[in-house]
Symmetry: C2
Subunit: 205 residues, 2 copies
């Protein structure tokens, strides 16, 4: 027996969300059925509101209520340093550390040829335009994964082709995460940590 | 940095769904942000529609577009046999086997004192009313879990207190699932299978 059509439809819509399989979608749909209407309407309202109010900053491409976004509009940020991240949530994690005073550029993904994601599907063109306008440093903070590394490499190459604008291009340090132990680090992580080792007797940074 | 308020709100709404943690809620919210508005509006519409159109059958308490539901209204179903299930999805799974011609009763949960779910939070009262009106058999098809078993036991006791209405109360067979092997069966499952063993030389039905 199929469920009544509105439930089937809700299950199908939930199933479209990333990481939600058929059983989970069914569980979510029945949770909605068995909870007060206000719960469902609040979620429905939040979905509409996000699509109505959220836009992308025309400078850094992050999600924002205003254009330009609060960071790009701020007088306290260093526009000479651009930190390039894959997603807005990565931007939020860096902001949470309060240890970066530059500005950002959100790619909205990473190069993934096997999934059909090429340079034109990301905001790389806009980043190159910003770089051409002149910056001191571009920090490539894509994830230390195969795809994140390939994306960083691609961008670094394109940046090196910009004539007459000297700028530094850097990549986030990779190594053993703070609070973790060698025991749980992968071989690649340990290898990265060795390659990136630093003097501690004469540490300058 | 917090995300813009509409995104934060959507994350919080997603987080309320069962089995959705903070990271997953964030991932879902950004999926919504980065996909066409129609996707979000379709999900929002499906949520509203479910709450507007779906009701509970006043006989068996299953979710339905009509009252009574298609099964309770059908002339082809045996109203003398009631199969009691925890959730509507269990009803759907039994219907999918096409091996039951009786009617159902959906409890909408199971007794779970630790979670504050008592008999009055389920539809047990309505089931007892149906039993008092006269039935031949009540199949307790709650799950073979501690809570499902306790719920079945509670209902069986309450049914036995109904004076003057003889009826059979049964429980689904428990044992090794078809297509599985002893190797993967738990001790309880094997113990259940031994207790419920059947003659195969003189098998009748």
């Amino acid at each position: 027996m199929a469920y009544p059509e509105p439930i089937e439809r809700l299950v199908r819509e939930f199933e479209k969300l990333p990481g939600i399989g058929e059983r989970t979608a069914e569980r979510l749909a029945f949770w909605i059925v068995s909870h007060p209407a206000e719960e469902a309407l609040r979620l429905a309202g939040a979905l509409r509101e996000v699509k109505e109010k959220i836009r992308l900053c025309s400078v850094c491409c992050t999600v924002s209520l205003e254009d330009p976004c609060g960071i790009c509009a701020s007088a306290n940020r260093d526009r000479g340093t651009i930190c390039v991240v894959e997603e807005t949530r990565d931007l939020a994690r860096i902001e949470a550390t309060a240890s970066f005073r530059g500005v950002y550029h959100v790619l909205h993904g990473r190069l993934a040829p096997l999934d059909g994601v090429g340079p034109n599907d990301l905001t790389i063109g806009r980043l190159l335009a910003r770089a051409r306008a002149g910056v001191q440093e571009i920090i490539l903070a894509t994830n230390p994964t195969v795809e994140g590394d390939a994306t960083a490499q691609y961008i670094a190459t394109r940046l090196s082709e910009i004539p007459g604008v000297p700028h530094r291009v850097t990549r986030l340090a990779r190594g053993i995460p703070a609070g973790s132990t060698m025991e749980y680090a992968s071989r690649t992580t340990i290898s990265d940590a060795l390659l990136g080792r630093r003097d501690i007797s004469s540490q300058k940074r």
